[in-house]
Each structure stands twice: as C-alpha cells, then as structure tokens.
Symmetry: C2
Subunit: 331 residues, 2 copies
Amino acid sequence: MKKFQVVGIGNAMVDVLASCDDDFLSDNGIEKGIMQLTDRERGVELYSRIGPAREVSGGSAANTIAGIAHLGGRSAYVGKVKDDQLGAIFAHDLRAQGVVYDTAMAEPGAEAETGRCIILVTPDGERSMNTYLGVTEFLAPSDIDEGQVAEADWIYLEGYRFDGPQSHAAFAKAIDACTGAGGRVALTLSDPFCVERHRDAFRAMIRDHVDLLFCNRAEILSMYQTDDFDEALTRAGSEVAMVACTDSENGAYVLTGGQRVHVPATKVDVVDATGAGDLFAGAFLWAQAEGMNPEICARAGCIAAGEVISHIGARPETDLKTLFAKHGLHA
Amino acid sequence: MKKFQVVGIGNAMVDVLASCDDDFLSDNGIEKGIMQLTDRERGVELYSRIGPAREVSGGSAANTIAGIAHLGGRSAYVGKVKDDQLGAIFAHDLRAQGVVYDTAMAEPGAEAETGRCIILVTPDGERSMNTYLGVTEFLAPSDIDEGQVAEADWIYLEGYRFDGPQSHAAFAKAIDACTGAGGRVALTLSDPFCVERHRDAFRAMIRDHVDLLFCNRAEILSMYQTDDFDEALTRAGSEVAMVACTDSENGAYVLTGGQRVHVPATKVDVVDATGAGDLFAGAFLWAQAEGMNPEICARAGCIAAGEVISHIGARPETDLKTLFAKHGLHA
C-alpha cells in the first residue's frame, strides 16, 4: 500500500467570499460564473468595493484534497503560500483536515503575498471568481518532492496552475516521479477560459500522460473546439482511459472502457456553487482509490458536490460518509 | 441632528470559528460558554489543535456597530488593529457595512498582531471563546477623537475593553467629550468573568455615567453578587435610567422609569450563539436612537439576536428590517 492515495498540486488560495447582485458584476467589469485573473492592484481595488466578506481556505485542488481527507483518504497537497497570516490560515486548514502539506512557504520579505480569490456570489448561487495569484504563481520544480509523489497512487493536477511560469516543469517532474513508480495521473481542466489559454499544453498532456480527466461541459467543448457535447465526450473517451465530466444540474458522465455511464445530480437548493467541481473530483478520486466502480465514483462525486453548493464555502461542512449512506450509497 | 447615532469602542478582533465536541473543550482546559483570555503562545497552540476554521470579523462592540449600520444607522467604531492582513480584513468589513472606522493601525513592526478570537462551537450551538487580544489591548486616550464622540447621540462602551492598561483613561476621555456635548453613555457588561475582574470599575461607571446598561442574567447576578435575578434587576433599575437585560431563551427585560417590560425570545434553531448579545444591543440601540419605545427596542433586539444565532458568525446575513416586518414589527 502506498503512503498516499492522492497528492494534489495546484494554486494555494484563501477565498474571500461576499454576496453581490448582478449589477455589481457588470458595473465592475466582472464576467459572471468564471475565474478571472487580476493583478494585485485590481484585487485591492475590487476588495475595497465589495461588501462584508468572510475568509475561508480555498484553491481548487486543495478543496479536492481536503474532501479526500474528510472522507478518510490518505492525501497530500503541494501549493505555495507565503509565511503571512493568510498563509498560516491556509496551511492550518489543510493540516487540520488531515492532509500532509509540506510545501516551503515563501519568505515574509517576498513582495507578493499569499494568493487570494475574491468570490462574488449572486442570488442565484453562481460564483464569479477574481484571483490574485500572489506567491502561488511561483510554484517551481524544486517544490516537487519526488519521493512524495512516488508514494502516491494518483497525482491530481490543477489546470489553473498552467498559468505559472515554472509550473509546467514542476508538473513534468511530478508526472515522471509518480508514473515511474507505477502511479497514475489525473488532470482537471479547471475552467473553459483556462482551456482557452492552455489548450495545446492540455492536449499534449492528455495524450501523453493523463489516466483520468475531470472536466465539465463548457471545458470539454472548449478543449475540442466544438458545440457538440456528445462528440466532445466521445473524443475525450477515445484519448483518455477514464473521463469524468460534470454537467451542472444534469449530473455527470463517466467514460471508460468504451462505456458511457450517466448519473443524476443530487437535488439541493444552491446557495454558493463554489467548489462543486472540486468536491465532485475529491469524492470521485477517493472512491476510485478505494477500488469502487465508475458509477459509484460518480454518484459519490455528485453527492459531495451537492453538499458543498448547499452552503457558503468550498469545503464540506457535513459528514460526507453519513450523506452517502442517506442516499443509499454504501461507499 | 448629530453626525452619529452611535459610536462604539471595544476590542477589534477577527473571529476564528471552528466546530468541536465537548470532550475537546475539557481535554484542552477550555471553559464552556465564556470568554477566556489567552496569551499569544496559548493562542498559537490552541489554533494548531482545532479543526478547519473560517475567519470572520468580530469583536463584541464591532458586531453591535455593524448591526446598527446594517439597519441604516449612522455609526462609527473605535478599536485597534495592526496593519497586517487580519487588520485589513477587520477594517474592510466594518467600512463595507457603512461604519466610519478611522482608528490608527498599529505599525507593521509592532510585535503583537491584530487580535483574534478562537471560537469553538459545540453541537448545542454554544460558543466558547479564547481571545488573544494582540494590539487591541493598547487602545489609549490618544485613539479617542473628541470631536467624533462629541458628534454622537450615544457612545457604546464594551466591558471587555476594561482589560486594557490605558483603556479606562480612553473611556473617561470619550465619556467627557460625549456627555459634554449632550450625548449619552451605554455600557455592556460583556461577560460574567469580565464583571468579576472589573466589578468596582463597572459599578463606579454605572453610578456616575451610564444611561443605558446592557447585560445578561449571569452578568447582572455577578455584578450585584446575588443569586436573585429579580433583586439584581431591581437594583440595576434603581441605578441606571434604562437597563436592557437578556435572558437567553426567556427573552429580555427592559427597566426604565420604574417600569419593567418583558419581551419573548425569537424562536430559532441555534447554530452558533456567537453575537447574540451584540446584535441584541445593536438593534436595541438603533431603535432607541430612532426614537422608538423600550418595548419595540427590545423586540427589535430579540429578532436581531435570533437571526445571528441561526447561522455561523456574529454579523447579520439576512436583511434585519425585512425580518422585523415579518415579525409584525414596523420599526
């Protein structure tokens, strides 16, 4: 048995969550429902305009890994924060959940701070993200501990991290060390605009290394530059051993071994959509690492996603295993 | 019309909220349901032991003032944070609510940091607070802007702030400037153990300066060193022009002009008791400043307290005026 079921690599962020109406988004030039990168100045400006907020640890892959640890999975995380107050909060929340998190912090002297994401939640529960990457942009190959990723059944790579100058090299190092020791590679496409920025790099990685691809409808359409969801799924299924594609309130599809399985979404009142895809991936990966079949993995994913969108914040607040049992899923 | 209806003075804190069970409290020597002061070392140690947390701006009087601003009241706040990330969060959240907040921040070089309060919420919704005061302990007379408090109908003094070395002098300066310009003084006793620490100072202030006293059952019993709630209420009523005393699920009592009025509590499922007294005081003071009668003030207070204990965090999340209307209170 390897030490870790999953080691995730991604942008280490603290989320700043506030409510607003649709007019606020348009008045401030914020595109609804997606992640947009901001520089520090724009982040500070935007923060001065939003209403009272609350701070919770976030980061897409970090949410996924926290979900795995919440389920009792053995997991570790790699992502860069600074040695500042928000960095301490981020590190605490992962470790307190049982995640091994040892990435060296950027020194207090560094100009950039711990990354943060201003998430504006509109009354429909949709979230619009404004990300100041801060020090997390500088994740480098030296941050990858080859011994650690060699001890993982899976590495889970966050598409957003392709935005960093040295992160492609960091991913390559992690992939080599993990697959060289018999581990497998999962990738999430993160966001349709992220796919737009890195389509070629994603396609090369999918072709050469990825064993399990996480995506949603908009991302896979962008990846294959088509409007035909069925065609995009088929193409992805032909390129990757397993594809798990979410489709909002329509649930999720899993493609593997020439089969396509559909599972319905869990019906909940959407309070804050932040973290839906992250927790889907977390529960799916955990179930996969526990040896469950693809349909069970996807059902666990949908239930976990339903939990996280029924409250504010992107990490689980109720016991997911109890919730699985309530839904008749004895994972 | 004066510029401010209420200027509050208190401990500026960021709350760190986490869930735990009763065993965790006893294993870590935490007394349930009260506020206990910790030094920085103990705060760091405790933080390393608690589960994943979320950060929200807090501080007792700051919550009260935020509630007044939420209701459309004209309010300002005085309390010290440091120029660090948590200090920026605290300042943002007050200003974003419409509160005037101009207290000079402690410089980044200062050894202490922005104060924080680790609040552990048990399954019964009770909160146990562990406060590292940080720089907020050093609120001094120089932090009081006499022109500002002279422009206030009310100043609202937080009992907890009696723990600071120079704060008695700061309070005296604020009282002189406010009452000299025709303003009035409200005081909250904050906590039974706070009363224990400062009984003589509280009694002198009540006798000489206080026009409106906020307290709860445990605090007023401690103040008058009796087990007889009725007697304690009567004594307080004979010393202060108006007393507003909360009694948890039994609602609240208002004593004024020789009359005693009781209003029932608003029935809600308690999720997190943090801020109940703070928001009671906020809505009460706002209604008082708007010229409403004592019963309406207390009813507004109970509805606001009910709102804030029905979710995690000590500041209102739903529109209180809408809630007042729902309860038939046309404040």
